[in-house]
Symmetry: C2
Subunit: 268 residues, 2 copies
DNA sequence: ACGAGTCGGTGCGGTGCCGTACATTGCACC
DNA sequence: GGTGCAATGTACGGCACCGCACCGACTCGT
C-alpha cells in the first residue's frame, strides 16, 4: 500500500505497451500545485490528467458551493472521466489536494487515442464504471457514517494516493472534503491521535497504526480500496467471460468492526 | 412534464430509426411489479431495462443495508448502465418504485447492439455520464439539504417519472430512498400538505402546486431535471463541436429560493 | 360488518453536528 | 528572538434528526 511505485500511473501501467506508448507520446509531464484547480464545473474539459505522485479531489457542489468530495484521484486513476463518456464539460471541480507530478493529455489528443485503440477505450471505460460506483458509495457514506469514521476513511484514502507514510493535509482541507466543520475534524483527529493511530502536526499527517486506523474507519475504505484494485486490473476480453474479482467468496466486504470512541450505533 | 408521453422510453426515442428498431427487436415488453428487484449489488447484470411507465430506484448500500437512493430511473433512462462501461456486475440494488411496463433486453443482446452501432453506443454512453453527475449531486444533496427539501425534491422527481398528476409512494418507501426515518418524512410531508402543495393519503400523492413544490425543494431538483434533458438529447456528432446546453448564460443553476418552513439556513 | 394490516400523525428523550467564537501553538520570515 | 499567520484545540448553545413508541384512521379481505 505504502509501496512507492515510483512516479507512474497505474491506469497507464495496466495498458498494453503500444497503447501506453502512444498515449505517453501525446502527453506532457506537469507539476500540479496544491489547491490548483484543474477542472471547473460547467466548463469544458481541456485536458485529461494522469496523476503520478499527486492526488486530486473531485468536489461536488450544491447551491454554488463546493459541498463535499465525491472521490479522490491519485496514481490509480485519471481526471477527466466525462470525456470518456462523451460529456465535454466537467460536472465537478477538480482541486489538487496533494502537489506533485501528473501526465497531462490535451482533450482532443485523448479522444484521438480513444478512437485509435479499442483496448485503451475499454480499459478506461471500465475505470469510469468504477468511479461511478465510488460516487454512489460516497453518497451513502456521507449520509450515514460519523465524522470520526469518515476522517479515518479519507485519511487512509489520501495516504494510499500520497504513497507516503506521512503526507500533508490540514484539518481545514479535510473538513471541506467531508463537508463538515473544521473543528469537527479537529475533534475527530484528536481522538484518533489519542488512540495512537495517527500523529497530526500542522497539516503533517503521520499514520502510526494503519490497521487500527482501518478499524476506526467505516467499511467504505475497504470497499473503495477493493474497488480501486478492480478498476486498475486489466479489463477482461469481451469474448472470454471472466468473472471480475469484486467479492472474493468468504470475504464479506463489510465485516463487523469495532467502534473507536464510545460505541456509537450505526444507523441502519 | 406531466404530459403523458404514451408508453415509450425517451432514451430509445432519441435513437435513429435503425438503431431503435434493432434494439426493440431484441427486447421484450415486461411488467415490473412494485418492489421487484431487477438488480442486486455484486450480482451479474442479466438484463437491461428501459422503463416506459414504471420507475426504478437505484439504491446504494453501506454495511449490508440499502442506505439511500442514488438516482431514480424512469422512461427518460435505463437500468443497467454498468454494462455500458464494461462492468458486468451491478454495483447497486435496482428496486421498482412505481409498477408498470418496461422493455427488457438480455445483457448479451444489449452488448451486441452496442457493438453493432457506434451511434447507439455513443448515445448511451453519454447517458452514463449524466447518471454519474447525478450520483455526485445526490451525495451532496443528501449530506446538506434538509429532509423537507429533499422530500419535495424526490416527490417531484418521482412525479416526473410517473407521468401522472397523482401517483403512489408511501412515506415508508420515500424514507428509505432518502435514508431517513419514516416519521421524518411524515412530518415533512405534513408541512408540505399544510402549505397546500401536495395531498398525501395512504401512499397516494397528489401534487397541487407544482411551482410551489419546486420552490420548497432544493435546487437539486432543477439541476437534475436540466441534466436529464441533456441526457436525453441526441449526442452531438464527434466531428462537429457543439457546446452542450448545460448552463445557458444568465441562468445560474442554483438561483436563490425561498424557504418553506421557518427560514432554515443552508449549510455552506 | 368486522378484524387485520397498512399507513401516517405525533410525541419524547437523546445526540451528533452546526455555527460561532476564542485561546493556544508552531512555523516562517523577518 | 520577536512578529504574524496559519493550524489546531476547545467551548457552548441550538437544532435537525435519531430511535422508539403509540395510536388513530383508512383499506381490504372474508
Amino acid at each position: 500500500m505504502i509501496s512507492r511505485t515510483g512516479t507512474s500511473n497505474s491506469l497507464l501501467a495496466a495498458l498494453p505497451q503500444r497503447e501506453r506508448d502512444d498515449l505517453q507520446q501525446r502527453s506532457e509531464r506537469v507539476l500540479l500545485a496544491l489547491d490548483q484547480v484543474i477542472g471547473e464545473p460547467g466548463k469544458p474539459i481541456r485536458d485529461v490528467y494522469f496523476p503520478m505522485d499527486c492526488f486530486v479531489a473531485l468536489m461536488a457542489g450544491v447551491d454554488g458551493h463546493d459541498a463535499l468530495a465525491a472521490d479522490l484521484v491519485g496514481s490509480e486513476g485519471m481526471v477527466g472521466v466525462p470525456l470518456l463518456l462523451g460529456v465535454e464539460r466537467s460536472p465537478l471541480r477538480a482541486r489538487v489536494l496533494g502537489a506533485g507530478e501528473a501526465l497531462r493529455v490535451a482533450a482532443p489528443e485523448f479522444q484521438h487515442a480513444l478512437l485509435a485503440s479499442v483496448l485503451l477505450e475499454r480499459q478506461f471505460r471500465r475505470y469510469a464504471g468504477v468511479r461511478m460506483e465510488q460516487f454512489a458509495r460516497t453518497a451513502a457514506c456521507a449520509a450515514f457514517h460519523r465524522v470520526e469514521q469518515r476522517v479515518a476513511c479519507w485519511l487512509l484514502m489520501a495516504q494510499d494516493r500520497a504513497h507516503r507514510e506521512r503526507f500533508v493535509l490540514t484539518h481545514e482541507r479535510l473538513a471541506r472534503l467531508l463537508g463538515v466543520r473544521r473543528s469537527g475534524v479537529s475533534t475527530a483527529a484528536g481522538t484518533l491521535q489519542a488512540a495512537r493511530l495517527i500523529t497530526y502536526t500542522r497539516g503533517h499527517v503521520l499514520v502510526l497504526d494503519r490497521v487500527g486506523l482501518e478499524q476506526a474507519a467505516c467499511g467504505c475504505y475497504r470497499s473503495a480500496r477493493d474497488l480501486t484494485r478492480f478498476g486498475i486490473a486489466a479489463a477482461p476480453r469481451r469474448d472470454v467471460e471472466i468473472a471480475p474479482p469484486r467479492a472474493p467468496p468468504g470475504t464479506p466486504s463489510d465485516a463487523p468492526r469495532p467502534q473507536l470512541s464510545r460505541g456509537i450505533p450505526h444507523r441502519h
